[in-house]
């Protein structure tokens, strides 16, 4: 699914990623770790097609519409409700049976009762749950998750654990985290950036 060779990225003169190799097979689970500033986010953005690499070769066998990206920002409109946000993304991704899918995700992530509330009124953890719903909405083939456990409470983290367990093998995942023990048993590929 992903084949990266000697991948590099510079912002101006500053290199943020140098000579990274990454191979992830279909249905594989790549765990990316590293300290702050090691280039995890940049690598994940490159894998998602949001940033172009400066050096190296990259092949991603999933079209843009089949990628689900969870970044540091939830990528939802704060002035819209959870339902409106997911409805918008569902329309853009042309999700079949959109309403049922949206309802199922909101129910699963405990947001059904607040679906008509504006996201601006949500806590950071609730917003992260909504962001996860957004990523899963179109059932992407490749999921790129940058620090997905950020701001989640114990129950939210457990829901995400279950979700990743279900997705393992069926979808290709690239996950970066500061807490690798949490997803270590699921990983098929490990990349430690320095």
């Amino acid at each position: 699914m992903i084949s990266a060779r000697r991948l590099g990225k510079r912002f101006g003169e500053k290199p943020v990623l140098r000579g990274v190799d990454l191979e992830v097979a279909d249905g594989g689970f790549a765990l990316v770790t590293g300290p702050n500033g090691s280039g995890k986010t940049t690598l994940l953005r490159i894998c998602a097609g949001l940033t172009l690499p400066s050096d190296g070769e990259l092949e991603v066998a999933a079209p843009r519409a089949r990628v689900g990206y969870l970044g540091h920002e939830p990528l939802v409109y704060r002035e819209l409700t959870a339902l409106e946000n997911l409805d918008l993304y569902g329309r853009l991704y042309r999700v079949p049976e959109r309403r049922e899918r949206v309802g199922m995700l909101l129910e699963r992530y405990g947001l059904w009762d607040v679906r008509h509330d504006r996201v601006a009124s949500y806590s950071r953890g609730m917003t992260q749950r909504l962001a996860i719903c957004r990523v899963l909405l179109h059932e992407p083939d490749l999921l790129v998750l940058d620090e997905p456990y950020t701001a989640l409470d114990a129950q939210g983290a457990e829901l995400l654990d279950q979700q990743l367990e279900e997705l393992r093998g069926a979808k290709t995942l690239v996950v970066s985290t500061h807490d690798p023990q949490r997803v270590e048993p699921l990983a098929t590929t490990r990349l430690a950036l320095t």
């Binding site: 990206y69 920002e73 939802v76 409109y77 918008l88 993304y89 853009l92």
Partner: protein, 212 residues
């Protein structure tokens, strides 16, 4: 047809955001009213209708600039470009939707501004209204592209007018010409041509503006 479904969904979202936040249209209305009041008192008594017509166009262009400056604020503040870029099959749909929403705000602002202008200065004829409708399309087409380029820079507040105003000069020439000339048809034709050429250019180049 799915392209236009994307445009409709995105434009609907922009209208909904404005309905909730109300931070673009009211600002445009207050601005254009304030400009008319300033012009009313700053123009010497006995000034010609031609001068007032020119000022009307200046007021509308700067009012549009205010709206264009707000167009991508939600996407910038909440870093939403990533989400939209991944979700849309054709990224130009983002441009077309945003231009359409801005056009709606501008037409609404003009629906208040033009009668007000008639009250303060002089009446407005059909060719001027036609010129405004054509000019609005060009302003929103070009301004939305320039707005998307400016919004990702640190000097966005400076860059938008610096990039947009030179590109709006032909619109002003065509608009003022249609308002004051005895033969407005050729100016309206010029505005139509400008709209067609620049809308096509903006539509085709938006993909590269949001590439990274």
């Amino acid at each position: 047809m799915s392209y236009f479904a994307d445009v409709r969904s995105l434009a609907r979202k922009d209208l909904l955001l404005e309905l909730r936040a109300r931070d673009t249209l009211p600002a445009m209305l207050l601005f254009v009213i304030a400009i008319f009041v300033v012009f009313h008192f700053s123009l010497p008594s006995g000034s010609s209708d031609l001068a007032a017509s020119g000022l009307l166009w200046v007021a509308i262009v700067f009012t549009a600039l205010l709206g264009l400056g707000r167009a991508f604020v939600p996407e910038r503040e909440q870093h939403l470009f990533d989400g939209l870029v991944l979700a849309t099959a054709d990224r130009s749909a983002i441009w077309l939707a945003k231009a359409s929403a801005t056009l709606a705000f501008l037409v609404l602002a003009e629906a208040v501004a033009l009668p007000l202008f008639a009250l303060f200065f002089h009446g407005i004829d059909g060719s001027t209204i036609a010129a405004f409708l054509l000019a609005d399309v060009g302003i929103c087409a070009v301004g939305t592209l320039v707005g998307a380029m400016a919004v990702v820079t640190r000097a966005r507040d400076l860059l938008l007018p610096l990039l947009f105003l030179p590109l709006a000069i032909p619109i002003l020439i065509g608009g003022v010409g249609a308002s004051v000339s005895d033969d407005p048809a050729r100016y309206l034709l010029f505005l139509g041509l400008y709209d067609a050429v620049f809308a096509l250019l903006c539509w085709a180049s938006f993909e590269y503006v949001v590439a990274e």
